[in-house]
Symmetry: C2
């Protein structure tokens, strides 16, 4: 016997909401939107978010304190994230660029240190806002 769906009830509810959203969602926006499904308090939301981030199903956009579903080859590279963020309309797109990922994943700093994880946020104007 095995589980094909490894998300718990709350995790699934919150993932579904984020996944169908076209824009990053904030924790309290999520809370507001899932209250009708019985998720009533911040810790329930934050716990689900933490787990979803941990498993790579979603990413946190640090500069916005908001969450987006992973669009990148089903989350294989959640340790190497890159996003483009429009400074006008706030739109966020996950960047999926093998060369960029490779370049950054193999980056060594001046002391020769390599890093096992990175997060990159680009800021500019999206096509619509230009």
């Amino acid at each position: 016997m095995f589980k094909e769906n490894n998300l718990s009830k709350n995790q699934q509810i919150i993932f579904d909401l984020i996944n169908k959203s076209s824009e990053p969602l904030k924790a309290y926006t999520i809370l507001f939107n899932v209250q009708k499904k019985g998720i009533k308090a911040p810790p329930q939301v934050y716990r689900a978010l933490d787990k979803l981030v941990e498993t790579g199903k979603i990413h946190k956009i640090e500069s916005k304190n908001a969450f987006v579903a992973c669009r990148n080859s089903n989350c294989e590279i959640s340790k190497a994230t890159a996003f483009s963020i429009c400074e006008s309309c706030e739109m966020v797109d996950e960047i999926s660029d093998a060369k960029l990922t490779k370049y950054l994943s193999s980056f060594n700093d001046k002391k020769g240190t390599k890093y096992k994880r990175f997060n990159l946020e680009f800021f500019g104007l999206c096509k619509k806002c230009k």
Copy 2:
């Protein structure tokens, strides 16, 4: 007549504190530390921080909600920031690597869009913690 020092009183106090710190400082840590100098309320701190970020004297480490002084050629490239962050001791170093900066500054996404600003945060273990 000209001013050689373009920081206001509160900006200077807060910059000095951040600049002499060996680790990123959080806004309320800063507030606590400058109360003896007459800065009493959060808005005073956040306003100074905003201005210092804007002028490139300091950077915000988004994943930590904390601030560090710019160490990079006197802040010429505050639109292209990169940091290494130790996941164990929380140490943060600004990365100053011309090749990396050039690579990212000239990055084009799949739609051909270029970005005028980026922030990159690497996570791993620093030399001491390895």
